[in-house]
């Protein structure tokens, strides 16, 4: 009885997150990131005279650079707290996670700090991506053969 009462009290006083508000903010910020990506691609295509595919790579590098730099200046943490999924699902979140891990472990030295811990947060993305892509590729090759 006492335990139930306590849990009810805890439930009552935990701050409720407004899910609708969070969702709308994430939708708008994510959409703006997508528009920025498309805008950068078109700028690169028209000013550097390269193909759309190359421009996509340039755009990803630009966004990673901006994400890393803003993380270093300390703005990005506040923005991620505000926009949540709107900023960590785009590629800037990848850059932010890597940069903040590198900065956090800097005090432990270059090799044991930055070198060993830089991929602490983003390593799971790379590892799961590679393993799943390998398995899916294997399935595709086994079912459909080599000609794609």
């Amino acid at each position: 009885m006492e335990k139930n009462k306590y849990q009810d009290l805890v439930k009552k006083h935990t701050p409720k997150e407004n899910r609708l508000y969070n969702g709308i903010i994430a939708f708008i910020t994510g959409g703006i990131m997508g528009v920025i990506g498309q805008f950068l691609i078109e700028v690169y295509v028209s000013y550097l005279n390269i193909s759309t595919k190359e421009a996509g790579t340039f755009m990803i590098i630009t966004l990673i650079f901006i994400g890393c730099l803003l993380t270093c200046f300390g703005f990005f943490d506040k923005w991620v707290n505000f926009a949540k999924a709107g900023l960590f699902v785009p590629i800037t979140g990848f850059a932010h996670a890597m940069q903040s891990a590198a900065l956090d472990y800097k005090k432990e030295g270059l090799v044991t700090g930055i070198g060993a811990c830089m991929l602490k947060l983003t390593g799971s993305v790379i590892i799961f991506g590679v393993v799943s892509a390998y398995i899916f590729g294997m399935i595709r090759l086994l079912i459909f053969g080599g000609n794609i």
Binding site: G30, V35, M59, P90, L103, M118, F128
Partner: protein, 116 residues
């Protein structure tokens, strides 16, 4: 028009991420990892290519495109060399993103100190 598509597609993916984050106990790391796996799965049957044609940069910016690029490079090489091609081409298209992220954040972390 493609700007609207980009806005809708990127926004929709972020909205799905936010819904997963709010309604389950998964953290941000889980969500991004899940999205990479979903992106790789969608491109196994060349579905994600159509999204890229439709939404342009809007489909390339979310982390799902990372999985898409991984398996795209792997299948490109696999059509030429067979099973060993999967391992040869896996990083063909993503290496620019991973390597620039590592180099940039290493160099920047030498010059900057963490803000507490």
């Amino acid at each position: 028009m493609i700007y609207l598509n980009a806005f809708l597609f990127a926004g929709l993916i972020c909205l799905i991420g936010q819904i997963i984050l709010d309604n389950t106990k998964l953290t941000a790391g889980h969500v991004t990892t899940l999205f990479v796996v979903i992106g790789a799965f969608l491109d196994t049957f060349s579905l994600y290519d159509k999204f890229v044609l439709w939404a342009g940069g809007g489909a390339l910016v979310p982390i799902t495109s990372f999985g898409h690029l991984l398996i795209h490079g792997a299948l490109d090489k696999a059509s030429e060399y067979g099973f060993i091609g999967l391992a040869m081409g896996m990083f063909d298209l993503t290496s620019t993103g991973i390597i620039s992220a590592i180099v940039i954040s290493f160099i920047l972390s030498i010059f900057f100190n963490p803000k507490s």
